[in-house]
């Protein structure tokens, strides 16, 4: 059984490495937030592997890391939602330059 755990541990590390690669090299924010989610998934899996190693103590799995992963997934979703909203708003502003002129920018011009 511990071999299977090791296998998933390697899988987790692989996910993190692939995610960091994508995050560092991509320039497009949407692709970067997807890569961030890949890293996150790998980290959660690492918690899952730690939980499964409780099998050595005679349990199926340790529920504490599972609970942390559930919290972590929720937080990652919130992060993704906020990032996507920022990306979309920026894209909207860049295609619609009329809206760019805000009070402060107007002051700049008159000064």
């Amino acid at each position: 059984m511990s071999d299977v755990t090791t296998l998933y541990g390697l899988c987790a590390s692989g996910l993190i490495a692939i995610g960091i690669y994508g995050f560092s090299l991509q320039s497009e924010p949407l692709r970067r937030i997807i890569s961030f989610n890949l890293i996150g998934t790998g980290v959660f899996l690492l918690f899952g592997v730690a939980a499964r190693r409780a099998a050595a103590a005679g349990f199926l799995a340790d529920p504490v890391p599972h609970a942390m992963v559930i919290t972590g997934i929720v937080v990652a979703f919130a992060a993704t939602a906020l990032t996507v909203a920022l990306i979309l708003r920026l894209a909207e502003l860049n295609t619609d330059p009329e809206e760019n002129i805000q009070p402060e920018a107007r002051d700049e011009k008159s000064a």
């Binding site: 995610g19 890949l38 349990f59 979309l88």
Partner: protein, 310 residues
């Protein structure tokens, strides 16, 4: 037991991850990510984490996937930025990431022979709470503070999403979710599925006390049903300034807070439950939280206000 199925699953997961990073356009990348989410749900089943598998399927693959797909659809008019890094830099970073991966694997797997765990402690104290699902006990009793703060994180992120509305439409409804061509099968599904989904959602929440499932999984299913109705154009997203909506957003966390403070008088302090009532209180809490989660998740997917309030 043969390791072959696990090996195959791991190859698929890593393949999907590589696809997600290497795909040429964003849509393929997102589709790779959604596939990865579903594969991961299987991985979590193999790690005996059914609760996590349900969450991963509902949120990781489902809600996040939908969010990214919608973003793709709206970004389609804008050109994708091409990776600017040269070949050498790619190789260098690739090498660093691989080294990092090896390091993490060595650090995570090289531990003591008998790994320390909190599983016995959880099992020893579970009777004091009286619930059958240990993950729910951790989430709502031992580490209830994390769960409470997580709701606050969600609310902060929702307010952050809302804050991106232009000033003149603040308080108005988000952009319509209605698909350009809401096909008949979708409309049919949107009419037929919500009652079923509602039952599944409620079942997940209710069941979460003793069996796998719980507030977040159930809440996300409820949110998905509402979204389905909005996608089919059978309902429009509500105005964000509506009092009912705002009260629904804070309802769950507020009940959590009140229940937490009641522990000062009724039990042994903040976030503790009175003996014998723990299960009742936790189930009630889960229902309240799931309702708020459904609204928050759906509104996050709908995005900031886009039309002037009436």
């Amino acid at each position: 037991m043969s390791m072959l199925p696990d090996l195959l699953l791991v190859m698929l997961v890593l393949g999907a991850a590589l696809w997600t990073v290497a795909a040429r356009d964003r849509r393929s990348s997102v589709i790779g990510f959604i596939a990865l989410g579903l594969l991961l749900a299987l991985v979590w089943m193999r790690l005996y984490a059914v609760d996590v598998a349900l969450t991963e399927a509902a949120v990781g693959g489902g809600a996040t996937g939908l969010l990214l797909l919608r973003a793709c659809a709206r970004l389609d008019s804008i050109d994708a930025g091409k990776p600017s890094a040269g070949r050498t830099l790619q190789l260098l970073i690739g090498f660093c990431c691989a080294a990092m991966g090896v390091g993490i694997a060595a650090a995570a797997l090289g531990g003591p022979d008998l790994p320390p765990t909190l599983a016995p402690a959880v099992a020893a104290n579970i009777d004091a709470v009286g619930l059958g699902n240990p993950v729910t006990v951790v989430l709502l009793a031992y580490r209830a503070i994390d769960t409470l703060l997580e709701k606050i994180v969600l609310i902060a992120a929702l307010v952050g999403v809302w804050s991106l509305a232009p000033d003149d439409v603040w308080g108005g409804p988000p952009a319509s979710l209605k698909l350009a061509k809401a096909s008949e099968p979708l409309t049919f599904l949107a009419q037929i599925l919500p009652p079923v989904g509602f039952v599944i959602g409620v079942y997940l929440i209710w069941n979460g006390a003793d069996e796998p499932g719980g507030t977040f999984q159930g809440g996300t299913v409820l949110a998905a049903m509402w979204l389905l109705v909005m996608l089919a154009g059978l309902a429009e997203p509500p105005e964000t300034r509506r009092a009912l909506l705002q009260y629904l957003v804070v309802f769950g966390p507020a009940v959590f807070l009140i229940s937490g403070f009641s522990g000062f008088w009724l039990a042994e302090g903040f976030l503790s439950y009175p003996t014998g009532f723990a299960k009742t209180m936790i189930v009630a809490l889960e229902v309240a939280l799931a309702l708020s989660i459904a609204v928050i998740v759906a509104m996050m997917l709908a995005g900031p206000s886009a039309r002037t309030p009436r």
